[in-house]
Amino acid sequence: MIGVSILIFGLMMTFSPERRAAAFVTTPQMAKDIPMLIKKYGFDKPFYVQYFTWIKEVSHLNLGYSLVASRSVFDAFLYYFPITLELNLFASPCIILFGIWMGTIAGIKPNSFFDHFSRIFSIIGWSLPTFLFALVLMMIFYGYFPWFPPGVLSDKLTMFVMNSNDFIRYTHLYTIDGILNGRLDITLNALKYLALPVLTETIVICALLMRVMRSGMLEEMSKDYIITAMAKGADKKTIYLKHARRNALIPVITIAGQLIASLMEGSIAVEIIFNRQGIGWWLASSATQLDMPVLMSMCLVMAVVFVLSNLFVDLIYAYIDPRIRLS
């Protein structure tokens, strides 16, 4: 029953943003007042007709043309996606592990030194503009110490990857392709370029996770079953990590959707500053060059991703917490 209701709800959510976006997509063209174009695409038809035409186009993955990428939005998406995926593939484990770790310790000993430290850390992470933090990091680790230059891969290796016939780009992720082709130097080089972007995202985003984890941990620690376990003299470590943390993780899962959204927002700033040509970079360039179809289709894609991740979260939730499944 729950599964069905979630599915219907999820479908409804994917449906409505499209309607919203459809209204936007048509306006610039209508404003341009090119009668031929209007006739061709049926923009003079009533709203609902346009909407269904648009839906038909979208379902055929025809999302419009991106001026910035000078190719269709769908192709451009496939072109830019691996860079962003690679960044977030490395950033999200760092964020999750670090956030949960800090949150757990802060929750076990509230008002300890570490708790205050993590509190200040999270408020600063919350207040820190991603773009500024990235700029300062680059100032230090690229300007002062020339260790971590911006970009994706060094020029020499980029040329090699582009021109070599032997190097097969299985996944288009440089780190993984490097391993698959037995070229560890490419993997290491790509990791070097990833270090600062991942660090930026981790520091800025893990604040949210930390707070939720801490409050979840605090709540669990004051519950009766923990006190019972303490009273019978169970191992402290077992109580903290096995009993309390596992229960405290449940509310954390619910913010997964929010985390994905903030990862996306984070990668806009990070990719702009570190000159990594991924989805975020594309979005920001499209915004500055008023490339409307890109922004609209990205809104749509994001909404779909968000809904799918929420659906996924709900399913996982039921799996992890049997109380929900049974109720």
């Binding site: 943003p17 936007f24 610039p28 207040s127 500024l132 300007g143 927002e265 979005l283 915004a287 990205m298």
Partner: protein, 301 residues
């Protein structure tokens, strides 16, 4: 007699809770400094161009930033714009963005949330699905899309952020109202024939608005952050306008100095950047303390 009125006692306890927290004190102090700067901006940095004081004056057109000197105590950024002047008048811009956006968002969010919570049923269902839809798209992406749709400019940035930010308040105020709606005093007012609008404005909103105000305080910082980032991208004010995000953007090409002296132009980034961070930090510290003080679970610990 009046001294021991429970309401007064409660307010006193709340204030005590807020100011016992050293971080809140720091937040208020920071905010006070910023308010002072914003109010006395014409005194601290007298504008040269009286008709448009928000434009930063510039001496010359040289692109290379100049280090802090007696004439320009924070130095000049590219195009010889005075950084000190930009910071002082940028404070006004930041306050304007924060207060304007939050008030518009509050107005929309509270009124929609109140209608949804008070009437319930099909109206509630429709409104909440609409909110779900707005929630499905990341804040920044949606705001950027709206700015692009309506054209660049600082004002449009403010409208766009307000058009997205209201979603945060609807759910909070609605859940507050759901518990209020069936209470006796509301029923009594209804029986006495008070109109729905009057009930909402006089009886429901004052009782449910508090948690929303706390969130609004916390959001103020993130609103300024988002606006700064969009200015940084170049979606905001024209060049030379006193806006911190734009000042960082102007300095972007100077993060790495000439060979041999890589940190030469540090002031072009660090000074406007510090202003942004401190401003946002002030709001966040206060918001954090307010939340702790009003959270019934944490309040009496």
């Amino acid at each position: 007699m009046l001294e021991n009125h429970p309401k007064l006692k409660e307010i006193r306890f709340t204030l005590y809770r807020i100011f016992k927290n050293p971080t809140a004190f720091m937040g208020f102090a920071l905010l006070l400094v910023f308010t002072f700067i914003a109010v006395f901006a014409p005194k601290i940095a007298p504008p040269k161009n009286l008709s448009n004081p928000y434009m930063i004056p510039h001496h010359g057109y040289s692109v290379t930033p100049k280090a802090p000197s007696e004439k320009h105590i924070f130095g000049t950024t590219t195009g010889q714009y005075d950084i000190f002047y930009g910071i002082v008048w940028g404070t006004r811009t930041a306050f304007r963005i924060g207060i304007f956006v939050i008030s518009i968002a509050l107005l929309i969010g509270v009124s929609i949330g109140t209608i949804a919570g008070y009437y319930g049923g099909i109206i509630d269902e429709i409104i909440m699905r609409l909110v779900d839809v707005v929630f499905a798209i990341p804040f920044l992406v949606l705001a950027m899309a709206i700015v692009v749709a309506f054209g660049r400019g600082l004002d449009n940035i403010m409208y766009a952020i307000a058009a997205v930010a209201w979603r945060n308040y609807v759910r909070v105020i609605r859940s507050g109202i759901l518990t209020l709606r069936d209470q006796d005093f509301i029923q009594a007012a209804k029986i006495m024939g008070v109109s729905d609008i009057k009930i909402m404005i006089r009886h429901i909103i004052p009782n449910a608005v508090f948690p929303v105000m706390v969130i609004a305080f916390m959001e103020c910082g993130s609103v300024v952050l988002t606006a700064a980032f969009m200015s940084f991208l170049g979606l905001g004010a024209p060049k030379g306008y006193a806006d911190w995000g734009q000042m960082v953007a102007m300095a972007r090409n100077y993060i790495v100095g000439p060979p041999g002296d890589p940190l030469k132009f540090w002031y072009t980034i660090i000074i406007p950047g510090t202003a942004i961070i401190l401003f946002v930090l002030a709001w966040n510290l206060i918001g954090d303390a307010l939340r702790d003080a009003f959270d019934p679970k944490l309040r009496r610990q």
